[in-house]
């Protein structure tokens, strides 16, 4: 399904997704309205100087560069409660699962790189054994993408990692900014249904629109980006250079903050901890929180032995995971070239430079 949406109509479409078509009192009672699945829509908004996804409030604007945090948090929130436990002294504990709420979320303005993060996360959480916390959230999420007319960040490099500023991978709907209107294209069935909900707000694209779309896309792809010189050769080269002294050299400034991974649309590592609310009688929750391989203790054994001692080993893990291990397992790079880790690293560690250096290194 390909349509044209006037920019002024974007809030109308959001409203159509959020509100029940009939609405309570307009031919539909409250119970019906509640059971009919509606969307909670999230659009990028500028808050305290940073772009974040926020519940749509009728003033959606899709002129953001890219959000500070990737949209991964919708399916993989920073904090997920698995279950709660209670135990009276001398009795067996009682466990209560906490199931994510059945609520559909539509995330608007997802950039193509972040869209491409989605199938990568899906792989992790469904490969081998399904993580139901992830999948039960994921199945309720639709990603309404926004193609990049020009790379929003000077550190974008999606083209180097098999993506493109106009990729629709992982998205349900792809929108392209044509100046005063959007070219809207449904990618999945969900996407079609969502567009259908917009009904008359959408118009059919003219041939000129199609032409403009093509030009816009072509221009976007042609726009210069940062470049990984040999992405295809990377897995083998990284493997070969595992022991290279370059790693420590390049990572010497790393402070191990993990910003690079927390913000990354594809980093999925987590920690599980028990949070105790009361000691007697015992009550608390088992909670999953984000974690990442850049934290020094991530792999440290209880004995104090740490297989990834030093920032070099940890940078290598991050880069290798993205450009070698994931590739070896799933045939694709885990990095989607969003450039967040490059732009946000407080000490200027730059994955593009790192990959280039290591792949050019003969050792």
């Amino acid at each position: 399904m390909e349509k044209i949406l006037d920019k002024k109509q974007i809030d109308g479409w959001v409203a159509a997704l959020t509100e029940h078509p009939q609405g309570v009192g307009r031919g539909c009672n409250a119970a019906e309205a509640a059971t009919t699945t509606l969307w909670e829509v999230h659009t990028p908004a500028l808050d305290e100087g940073i772009w974040t996804y926020q519940p749509a409030n009728g003033t959606a604007r899709l002129d953001h560069p890219n959000t500070k945090q990737s949209p991964k948090e919708f399916a993989f929130p920073q904090r997920e409660i698995f279950f709660s436990f209670e135990q009276i002294k001398g009795e067996a504990p009682r466990l209560t699962q906490i199931v994510p709420k059945e609520q559909r979320h539509a995330v608007f303005g997802v950039r193509p790189c972040d869209g491409r993060g989605v199938p990568r996360m899906d792989k992790v959480f469904t490969d081998h054994i399904e993580d139901k916390y992830y999948t039960s959230r994921r199945k309720n999420i639709a990603y309404v993408g926004l193609a990049c007319n020009k790379p929003p960040s000077p550190n974008c490099f999606c083209l180097s990692v098999g993506g493109s500023p106009v990729s629709s991978d992982g998205l349900d709907v792809q929108m392209t900014d044509l100046g005063d209107r959007y070219f809207v294209k449904a990618i999945t069935e969900t996407g079609k249904a969502m567009m259908a909900a917009g009904g008359k707000l959408f118009a059919d694209p003219s041939a000129a629109d199609q032409k403009l779309l093509k030009k816009t896309h072509d221009d976007a792809v042609a726009y210069p980006q940062r470049k990984i010189n040999d992405p295809d050769g990377a897995p083998a080269k990284l493997r070969a250079n595992f022991d290279s002294p370059l790693w420590q050299e390049m990572a010497q400034a790393c402070i191990g903050c993990g910003i690079c991974t927390f913000l990354c649309p594809t980093c999925h590592c987590f920690d599980i901890n028990d949070e105790v609310h009361n000691k007697a009688p015992l009550s608390g929750q088992r909670v999953r929180t984000w974690d990442n391989c850049q934290f020094p203790d991530f792999t440290m054994h209880s004995s104090g032995h740490n297989p990834r001692e030093g920032t070099g080993a940890r940078l290598r893990q991050r880069v290798n995971h993205k450009f070698q291990y994931f590739h070896e397992n799933f045939g694709m790079h885990q990095c989607t070239g969003c450039g967040r880790c490059v732009s946000e690293c407080p000490v200027g560690i730059d994955i593009v430079t790192v990959v280039n250096k290591v792949t050019e290194h003969v050792g």
Partner: protein, 274 residues
């Protein structure tokens, strides 16, 4: 939500034994299902044990798969969760989920000589193989067990090891000589070198501290064992046990899924991040 892979089953502690006391104390626990039955497992697999309010730890199942009534674990006190285990009393209820990881290919080893080499707490992961082999004694040729601790007090499964003697060659050792100890004094790899088990039609299974494994493997290869004949387990830090949390990652493998059992031939191929 069915199949919640993070939700443990409840199990009751039926038996506790103090194996080793002191700074690195070890206790053995047997647990039984509170309701229904616990999962079946294979030799070498592990389980995530929980103490609610303290957390989870990955622990090797130390009992033979042949035993269905209970599962046995031997846990060294090293930190938060393991300390909580050491405070348990019989009758207390814990959480358990698993089994996780791959297993020793015991079926492929029938008709072979088995050489077990363990150190410290590393006897636990290979104990199910030893006890299974002894239980099915006729399926296997010679069984040799090397095991060493820092001192006589650090030898775990002492009585069980003594009981093995009828069915297996048992070579115990301690790191430093001490009064009343008349078996081998020195590190386990040295004991192995000393007794030099025959590599012919043999499989060597070793488990223990990383530094011990390193030298055991060196020595085994010197004696003539091929990479494919040597098996070990690697224990990277784990949180989920399901190949998702990312921390046991070595190269393309998540050890909790692809491991913990590796032949040296396979392991050599992975980056040395364990």
């Amino acid at each position: 939500m069915s199949d919640n892979i993070y939700l443990p089953q409840l199990a009751r502690v039926a038996y506790i034994k103090e194996e080793v006391v002191g700074e690195r104390s070890i206790k053995t626990f047997r647990v039984e299902a509170v309701d229904g039955k616990l999962f079946d497992h294979e030799c070498g697999q592990c389980a995530m044990l929980s103490i609610f309010g303290r957390g989870e730890s990955m622990i090797s199942i130390a009992s033979s798969p042949l035993i269905k009534e209970y599962k046995q674990f031997s846990i060294m006190r090293v930190g938060k969760v393991s300390s909580a285990f050491h405070e348990l009393e019989v009758g207390d209820v814990i959480g358990i989920r698993g089994p996780y990881g791959n297993n020793f290919p015991v079926d492929d080893w029938r008709g072979k000589n088995l050489v077990f080499i363990g150190g410290g707490c590393g006897l636990a992961p290979i104990w199910p193989v030893i006890t299974t082999a002894v239980a099915q004694r006729n399926d296997f040729k010679n069984i040799t067990v090397f095991y060493g601790g820092r001192s006589p007090r650090d030898i775990m499964y002492r009585t069980e090891l003594e009981k093995l003697r009828g069915s297996a060659d048992v070579h115990l050792s301690v790191d430093k000589a001490e009064e009343g100890w008349d078996a081998f004094c020195g590190f386990v790899p040295a004991n192995v070198m000393d007794k030099a088990p025959n590599p012919g039609n043999a499989i060597a299974i070793t488990c223990g501290p990383p530094i011990m494994i390193k030298f055991v493997i060196q020595n085994l290869r010197e004696i003539g064992f091929k990479d494919e004949q040597i098996y070990t387990t690697i224990e990277n830090k784990m949180k989920c046990g399901l190949g998702k949390c990312g921390r046991c990652n070595v190269g393309k493998d998540y050890v909790c899924v692809k491991g913990p059992v590796y032949s040296w031939a396979e392991l050599k191929d992975l980056p040395a991040e364990y």
